[in-house]
């Protein structure tokens, strides 16, 4: 058996403090090596403590036994309980201090300090090999735990100390020499019970006292609480369930509408746009015009939001930073049926034109850029879009300077993938451009569709988190089935209607 020293890691457990019982076994064994088996197994002093159960030590028995010493209510109460109890002094060394006793925490901390000192001394005595084995000069967790325990909120705790008194009689008088075996703290607010040191596992804790002669004690701390009967535990769970349901219903009352769902067979893509800022544009006083191009099968209820203009902003600083903070919310609807016809949707694009407004209202194009809307995967996106502008030689530059060259293009979609282009090659040869600044935009994309409801696809529920790409998800066979079911139901209803009209 190795010298298992005190390991002061407190344990945080949600024990019920009222039902918890702690059993302490202690014995003085001077040398483990020469101790016989019977010595190790027999004659342990065993005592069970309940939460806040007062056990008197010899000194207290003497002190509180005398009525003259008792002034306060608690002391009188102790006096009464001592008189009523039968046995007088005995040689038991285990006792407890409870919350009422105002046992000072300082003593506790010094005693812990002493223990750690002891440990250090023990290290010195150990052979080199053992030191190498117990090489824990700086144990991060140990210090972390100490720091956690040593918070300034100790006064919120109700405490209980399980103590040992190794004193002795010197001419009729008990000279106490007490020592902490175990500290129990309960924080009512946070519902935390701290027991320090932890319940001993296989090995006992060692307590070495350096008085006249070195005395060594070994002790176990055990959890002797009875388990809650199953019935009660079940009942408790039920109550917890009811409480949470009640809380949920309270919330529902504050918001007494059901969650909005999109119509069947549509995928709603909510995009929360933010045109954030721009940098490195040539002129001051810049604004941004934007336009969203929706392909087939995509619709937007509020189509007025598909294009817009930000405010005019004067740039600042070395990089001519312009800030917009222009937010707009878009709801795009996509017909899922199209997805099953074609297998892959066309993506909507957003086009930006950055324009500067000079003196005498000369509007100059500062940059064009576009972005394919990232609808495939819901996420929060941030893009820095590089811009360029079109130019056409010296005449064009002069015109830009003197008159302004805003909107000098026929079709803004040309900068992206124009629809008008036929053939296998999209040729941009012969067009001169000048690179300008960058435009920062943020997009928050979120999807909603009845197809994602768990009642339609349990399989998707299982695969949740893995298939993040929405079109993978839409492809899941269960979903196809569900859509087909919807269509069938629709067909049946129409037939019924036709029949009803015919008859």
């Amino acid at each position: 058996m190795k010298n298992k020293m005190e390991n002061f890691n407190p344990i945080y457990q949600t024990l019920n403090k009222y039902t918890a019982i702690y059993r302490i076994r202690i014995k003085e064994i001077n040398d483990l090596v020469i101790a016989t088996d019977s010595e190790l197994k027999e004659n342990w002093e065993i005592k069970e403590f309940k939460w806040q159960q007062k056990v008197f030590n010899n000194f207290e028995k003497q002190f509180y036994g005398d009525e003259k010493n008792c002034v306060t209510d608690i002391e009188k109460q102790y006096n009464l309980s001592l008189i009523n109890s039968v046995n007088a002094t005995d040689d038991r060394i285990l006792f407890s201090y409870i919350d009422n006793d105002n046992f000072n925490c300082d003593i506790e901390s010094t005693s812990i300090l002493k223990n750690t000192c002891d440990r250090k001394q023990a290290h010195e005595e150990n052979s080199l090999e053992e030191i190498l084995e117990n090489n824990e000069e700086y144990d991060y967790r140990h210090y972390l735990d100490e720091a956690i325990e040593d918070v300034g909120t100790l006064d919120d705790y109700s405490v209980m100390f399980i103590m040992a008194d190794m004193g002795e009689y010197i001419q009729e008088n008990w000279v106490k020499f007490e020592h902490i075996l175990c500290t129990l703290k309960y924080n009512k607010e946070k519902n935390i019970l701290i027991i320090c040191p932890d319940f001993s596992q296989r090995l006992p804790y060692r307590l070495q006292l350096n008085s006249d002669s070195i005395r060594t004690f070994y002790y176990f701390i055990e959890n002797a609480s009875e388990d809650i009967p199953e019935e009660l535990a079940q009942k408790e769970n039920e109550i917890f369930k009811k409480i949470s349901e009640y809380r949920l219903s309270l919330k529902n009352i504050t918001l007494n509408t059901t969650f909005e769902l999109p119509s069947k067979n549509t995928l709603e893509v909510h995009i929360f746009f933010e045109i954030v800022s721009g940098q490195h544009f040539e002129y001051d006083d810049i604004y941004v015009k934007y336009f969203i191009d929706l392909p087939e099968k995509w619709t937007c209820k509020n189509s007025g939001l598909l294009n817009g203009i930000t405010q005019t902003c004067r740039g600042k600083g070395h990089s001519n930073l312009v800030t917009f903070g222009h937010v707009f919310d878009l709801i795009l609807n996509y017909d899922i049926q199209d997805f099953f016809d074609k297998g892959f949707p066309k993506y909507p694009y957003i086009y930006f034109e950055v324009i500067s407004r000079g003196s005498w209202d000369r509007y100059r194009c500062e940059g064009l850029t576009f972005k394919c809307l990232p609808i495939a995967k819901p996420d929060s996106y941030h893009f820095d879009l590089p811009c360029y502008r079109l130019t056409d030689g010296r005449m064009s530059d002069l015109r830009r300077f003197f008159i302004g060259d805003c909107s000098n293009y026929n079709d803004i979609t040309w900068i992206g993938l124009p629809k008008s282009v036929k053939g296998s090659i999209f040729n941009k040869y012969g067009v001169q451009t000048v690179g300008t600044g960058t435009l920062s935009v943020r997009m928050n994309v979120i999807h909603q569709s009845q197809a994602f409801l768990t009642k339609y696809n349990e399989a998707a529920q299982l695969a949740r988190g893995r298939e993040k790409y929405i079109f993978d998800k839409l492809n899941s066979s269960t979903l196809v089935k569900s859509v087909e079911q919807v269509l069938e139901a629709f067909k049946r209803a129409r037939e019924n209607m036709i029949q009803a009209r015919n008859t």
Partner: protein, 175 residues
Amino acid sequence: MAEVHIIGELSQSKDFGQQHLFCKWYLQIGNNWRLLSGKKEGQTQVSSNEFEDICKWSYPLDIHLATSGLQGWPKIYIQVFHLDWVGRSHLYGYGVVTIPTHPGQHELDCYTWRPVGNLRERFVQYFMGGGPQLKDPHLILSTTDRYKLNTEAMGVVTFKITVVLRHFSDFGVEY
């Protein structure tokens, strides 16, 4: 009904070119949203920094919202003010951020701006302080009337926000 937790801080401002700044913030949510706990608006302390062009606020945000729809996703709009040596406060910027729809930790930069007047007004503002302000701060959020505004770029306000979403998947929402 789904829930959103917004936990984090209004961290700091930078590049405003002035110290002694404070910030008022407001939470903007749609009609189908309810505030379950936390505050809807607030104001930071006045902060200054001797060495850098940064004001640290570390103002805590902890908002719990319930919703019955995705429309009107929460946004925070802010007004930054500068407190000068005689105790007057001057507008130093408007800004808005959308709360991210993706759960997790986010560091958001809110780029602010403020309205500028004509040349004469700017001249007065240079010596006397003050300057034009928005009559209705909701213009910060509007998209349609913005083009009438003349503004100048101001500093950057940083948010550190953690978003927690609950029950959204029950309503077919993918986030």
